[in-house]
Symmetry: C2
């Protein structure tokens, strides 16, 4: 691919993702730097949902399960995600939410290590992951413990009491990246299993589930995978564990023969056993269509471009906006695909930014967060965002009483 | 409302639901008697989903959570369902699947009765409910037991070892109705809690959760509530239990302050604590729109009409189709809103029926199942279904090798 500047000079690969950008239905005059929270709509998802509703549900009714392939969506979308996270075909399923999937694999990991009673995590983990572990362990009774340490202390906190190391690879606030391969190896050396949350990894950075030796993984499909608000999550079970993986949460879609209506549960082979209830077809169809955007996309190129955009943004903001302090790792290799800046007036400044068409988000107490999804974000967007931010900071536009507190969802 | 026969005579209330029927987008030339499995599309759901995708997700992006009220959908749809199942406002939430919700309330019930170790259910329960209990109990260790008895033996099997009586009110095969009030009272007398699955009740028969004293309930929204394939389920927590209800499965949307991102879980007040992950917005919007169909509808009238249609169908089939044996209770008061007939060639006969535009379904080994949803099914449909069935049975049209075995979802 190549592009041409206003001076007429060829600039090779200036906007290497212009083809994928055309697949997104982005609002005009908006720079959307919050795809790490909710990915935008694709034309494909809009069309597919309309078709599934009107033609499939509307005309095929119950027949849609077979005639329209609804029943295959968890595996079909799972295989598309597997290709993005370094997992073999058939090892990823799409179902439920990230929290529910984490519960399943964590409960399974604890059953696989009955002599170990500790789940080890870090204080940078997304809180729902900690809540899942807390309440699961509370139900298991005495002796079980959730140990939460600082992210940089995780490696040293792995000991022989640990049943499961439960980490989110990319920190939702700072984008700090854990070393999945190294920590998984250390967990295994201590006899523990490694459970990874890829919420801010999938579609953002290359992930090598198979190569890292990760035992289980879960992740979100509504961020960089653009599945839609509250889209179903994914779950990975390392193939060699599949037959001994028994979640405390099981249901008919994870049964070996769901339509035999047997009274006894017999888990389906492989990751299919992680399914529980009836798949949410409308949501799965939106996700499946959105995932098609990734066909032919090289994640190494996505990563290179993400770093280029992020580095540009950091340099521009640091040059233009005194008072903002980089909260993300400066080393691009240790950083995911978003960048956070600390700013005392961050909440109000972010509201001012959003009002001016540059959409990032805010994380208490003082983080302004900007996500860079190369599939639809280009260098122009990054420069415009930095310019608008500069104006807000320099002119103290955040100092406006309209920018009051309100709710927000990642 | 009144109607006029071909003889010109006025027949009061012949099609009392013609107004609601117009709200559904049913395929032409089809008699859809499978709304007990997957309710049909409403015009409202189609329009709402299109709007949520294109305008809300597409244009509001992350802002949709507040600007478009996405964050309120679990409670909003929950309140609509509460009105249909005799539950007070604020006591029902929409989230996850029926199986996952059952897991939550069952795990909570077991924590509330630590001295009791038995979950009592019946062999007519939908298998996923039994799987949920089996795998939950397996994870809790020794001493826990799932006791499964015949439906008619449930009352006598309640003893002081029972922690939770876990039943589906309406049998998915035969439509046999359990006496929710009586069995709940017996459970309470033995010190147990009563957990009800309303999958085939909600929108089909009047339910009085508050009056019956039921402790917890779950249910499906894609059957008589027409929420769409795999639509999110609902969960009810008796308000007096809310503050002591602790599910083993918890997540950030059930936290008292999800956006504070605290490291410790503190359950939200009331049924809100049953939420776990991020709500599936597209699916919730479809359901919420479909539920609007029920505004102004009297469930007692729905029930009366359902009985009228079912009785007509039974009489017609028994008169026309020798060889088919009623598998549902003959007493309409003991039967939900579907009717099942036993027929040796039931699978093939049902395929022949579907091919001729009359859609019911089949449950192994020999049940032909027909659901009567008065909101969109009228007397003409019932008569046509019986006529087509008669032809298939009398002319042995089921005896065609094309009608081979295939998968099927309720």
């Amino acid at each position: 691919m190549s592009d041409v500047t206003s001076h007429g000079a060829a600039v090779p690969r200036a906007e290497p993702f212009s083809a994928t950008r055309a697949l997104f239905d982005l609002p005009a005059d908006t720079v959307y730097l919050n795809g790490n929270s909710l990915g935008p709509l694709t034309h494909a998802a809009r069309q597919r949902v309309a078709e599934v509703v009107a033609s499939e549900w509307g005309q095929h009714l119950i027949g849609g399960w077979n005639e329209c392939g609804w029943i295959d969506l968890p595996r079909q979308a799972g295989d598309r995600i597997a290709a993005l996270v370094g997992a073999p075909e058939g090892s990823v399923a799409v179902c439920d939410s990230t929290s529910v999937n984490l519960f399943k694999v964590l409960s399974a990991a604890l059953r696989m290590r009955p002599e170990h009673r500790v789940v080890l995590s870090d204080a940078g983990n997304f809180p729902t992951d900690l809540y899942v572990a807390q309440e699961l362990l509370a139900g298991l009774g005495d002796g079980y413990e959730l140990r939460v340490v600082a992210p940089e202390e995780v490696a040293d906190a792995i000991d022989e009491r640990v049943a499961a190391l439960m980490l989110t690879e990319v920190d939702y606030r700072t984008a700090r990246v854990h070393d999945m391969g190294d920590l998984t190896r250390r967990a295994h050396e201590a006899g523990a299993l490694a459970v990874w949350d890829l919420a801010h990894s999938a579609g953002a950075i290359p992930v090598d589930l198979a190569g890292s030796g990760a035992d289980f993984a879960v992740g979100c499909s509504y961020k960089y995978l653009n599945g839609g608000p509250g889209a179903p999550a994914f779950v990975y079970v390392r193939p060699e564990h599949a037959e001994e993986t028994r979640s405390a949460l099981a249901g008919w879609m994870g049964h070996e023969a769901p339509f035999a209506f047997d009274l006894d549960y017999r888990p389906a082979p492989g990751v299919q056993r992680m399914l529980v209830g009836t798949p949410p077809v409308l949501a799965m169809a939106a996700l499946d269509a959105a995932l098609a955007v990734w066909e032919g996309v090289d994640l190494a190129e996505v990563r290179a471009r993400s770093i280029e955009l992020s580095e540009t943004f950091i340099a521009e903001v640091e040059a233009r906006c005194p008072g903002l302090e980089l909260a993300s790792p400066r080393d691009a290799a240790a950083r995911g695909s978003h960048v956070s800046f600390r700013f005392e007036h961050g909440y109000a400044a972010m509201q001012a930014l959003i009002e001016r068409g540059v959409i990032g988000d805010f994380r208490a107490p003082d983080l302004m967060r900007f996500g860079f999804a190369p599939l639809y974000i280009g260098r122009d967007d990054v420069l415009r965002a930095a310019e608008v931010l500069e104006r807000i900071v320099c002119e103290r536009l955040w100092d406006d009483p309209r920018y009051a507190d309100r709710k927000k969802v990642t």
